[in-house]
């Protein structure tokens, strides 16, 4: 399967990445090499095979709904690029 420059741009947008023209060229070439390689999986008939997403079957691990110690507001905000002492600040949305 081939991936076009336009498709790479679309995927980059979905992933919230911006690529320069030069990076876009390089990335498109490399993704094509990698995607042609993974097409190898098509050699296998997997129509009756269940997918494995996790090696051991995991079910929801519930816990009691009880308040326990957690991070303080100060600790939670300590790594924020921008905050006002009580919340994270971001550029205007609307």
């Amino acid at each position: 399967m081939n991936i076009t420059k336009k498709a790479v741009e679309h995927v980059a947008n979905l992933a919230r990445l911006t690529l320069s023209d030069e990076d876009l060229d390089v990335m498109t070439g490399q993704l094509n090499t990698i995607l042609s390689y993974v097409d190898k999986l098509g050699e296998l008939d997997t129509s009756k095979i269940k997918p494995t997403t996790h090696v051991f079957s995991v079910t929801n691990a519930f816990r009691e709904d009880r308040v326990t110690e957690s991070l303080s507001q100060e600790e939670s905000l300590a790594n924020a690029p921008l905050e006002n002492g009580e919340s994270f600040q971001v550029p205007k949305i609307i």
Binding site: M1, I3, A7, V8, V11, A12, L14, A15, R16, L17, T18, L19, D23, M27, Q30, L31, T33, I34, L35, Y37, V38, K40, L41, G42, E43, L44, T46, I49, K50, P51, T52, T53, H54, V55, F56, V58, N60, A61, R63, L71, E75, S76, A78, N79, A80, P81, L82, F88, V90, P91, K92, I93
Partner: protein, 485 residues
């Protein structure tokens, strides 16, 4: 012998006998780091002050009669594991100044046993790479041959242990990231069974594949570190409720009745003849030690790289969505809209390999391609798991090379991502199947590069790995390679 040259087991013994204190041992490691790390670049952050205060505390504990399994033992920690009050960069510019407000469970367990954390070591950015060259803060050098790669992604862990900067390290292994650098630097490295060790506080790369494990200078030390880090953790709902055996009890069990499988697909074309020679010698050592050899086929081995890179990249694209410049990490301050802020932050904060994997993963999960890529890869994963289950009906462990070649020169493969991915072909399947794997030094090439031997086992079969690795270590009795630092 200088204190920093000792194994964990030797240092534990000498400190118990009063030969030196934890502070003296820690200082000897810190001085060693100071002397050689400028060139070696194994460490991203050295926490001299923190390490010394932990060493003082360890000495106090000892005099009070409370001696943990790692009391006063200086260790390094891969910078993907969260450490309270010390930077956790994940080898990425996007987390350059990130200080975790909590310790990873494994770090906490090491502290509780008296371990001294010297600092955080280099790795490929977000553990994506096979050489540690994608680290944003300098490329670590192979301590055995300067100018050669350490392997990766836990390259700083392997380099710091091999170069005698610390006595042991914790790394993480998503597709070989503990075993491969251990092999290329000549140390012992183990990836435990998925779920054996808590992932809480291990920055997520590919959650269904990631596992924390030890790197050390002896198999005995590997067993000791495994004893400390293995346990169910309620903070990691994928960790498994299973009692942890005393792994040190497996060391001297010998090989009688152990069935050793030789996976034929791991010895196919592309295998360096010197690597093959070392592994064949290891097989012979096991055979003459009483092991029964069995030929095994893992027929889907040739599909593991394709399956792995789709699954790992898909999980990564989702896990790395959190780096958006809002709650922590780098933010591009010039952007004037939220969307632009996300895009500029991520584009400037992530390196090329991370972007490449995010793009592959986003594509593989995107509408219209999900079935052809992610689902297909997950179905092939079932087949790979099936290969192992069938193999372990006939044998207890598998022996093979860790990598098709010894270490290569820094820069040699860095323009060719696919060639780099293919170098992981012998370690990836264990992660897809969740089985344990270990790399133990097996010998050297003619030019003195270390070559490891890989031992894989069935789920929760680590004891057999330790048993066989210890036998190899004792029989081979290799001298530590001369260092080139």
């Amino acid at each position: 012998m200088k204190p920093y040259e000792l194994t964990i087991a030797q240092a534990v013994k000498e400190m118990a006998a009063g030969e030196f204190t934890a502070v003296e041992l820690t200082e000897s490691c810190l001085d060693r780091i100071e002397k050689i790390d400028k060139k070696l670049q194994a460490f991203i952050t050295v926490d001299r002050e923190g390490a010394l205060s932990q060493a003082i505390a360890a000495d106090k504990e000892r005099s009070a009669g409370r001696v943990g399994a790692l009391c006063g033992i200086p260790l390094s920690i891969k910078d993907l594991l969260c450490t309270k009050n010390v930077k956790t960069t994940c080898g990425s510019k996007i987390l350059e100044n990130y200080i975790s407000p909590y310790d990873a469970t494994v770090v906490d367990r090491i502290r509780k046993e008296g371990g001294v954390i010297l600092g955080k070591v280099a790795m490929d950015e977000f553990a994506m790479g096979s050489t540690s060259e994608t680290c944003a803060f300098g490329v670590p050098q192979n301590p055995v041959k300067s100018g050669y790669v350490t392997g990766g992604s836990s390259g700083g862990s392997a380099a710091s242990v091999a170069s005698l900067e610390c006595l042991g390290s914790l790394g993480s292994d998503t597709g070989g990231s503990i075993r491969q650098p251990a092999s290329l630097c000549g140390v012992v490295g183990m990836k435990p069974t998925y779920g054996r060790v808590s992932r809480f506080g291990l920055t997520a790369f590919a959650s269904s594949l990631d596992q924390v494990g030890p790197l050390s200078r002896s198999v005995t030390d590997c067993a000791t570190l495994m004893n400390v880090i293995s346990a169910y953790d309620k903070k990691d709902s994928t960790s498994v409720r299973k009692a942890t055996p005393d792994f040190t009890l497996s060391l001297k069990k010998g090989l009688d009745g152990v069935r050793v499988g030789i996976p034929l697909e791991y010895f196919k074309q592309g295998l360096d003849p010197e690597v093959e020679r070392v592994v064949q010698n290891g097989i012979e050592v096991l055979r003459s030690g009483g092991a029964e050899l069995v030929d095994i086929s893992l027929p889907h081995t040739e599909y593991c790289v394709a399956s792995y890179y789709l699954i790992a990249s898909s999980e990564a694209s989702s896990n790395l969505a959190r780096y958006d410049g809002v709650i922590y990490g780098y933010r591009d301050q010039q952007a004037d809209s939220l969307l632009d802020m996300y895009k500029q932050t991520r584009s400037k904060g992530f390196g090329a390999e991370v972007k490449r994997r995010i793009l592959i993963g986003t594509y593989a999960l995107s509408s219209g391609y999900y079935d052809a890529y992610y689902k297909k890869a997950s179905q092939v994963r079932t087949l790979i798991l099936g290969d192992y289950k069938k193999a372990y009906e006939k044998c207890d462990i598998l022996i093979s090379p860790v990598t098709p070649t010894p270490a290569w020169k820094i820069g040699e493969n860095s323009d060719n991502p696919l060639a780099m991915y293919l170098s992981d072909i012998l370690t990836i399947s264990a992660n897809l199947a969740g089985v344990p794997g270990l790399s133990v030094p097996g010998g050297f090439t003619g030019t003195g590069l270390p070559v490891g031997i890989q031992i894989q086992g069935d789920h929760f079969g680590e004891e057999k790995l330790i048993q066989a690795a210890y036998h190899l270590e004792q029989e081979l009795n290799l001298e530590l390679p001369p260092l080139d630092i």
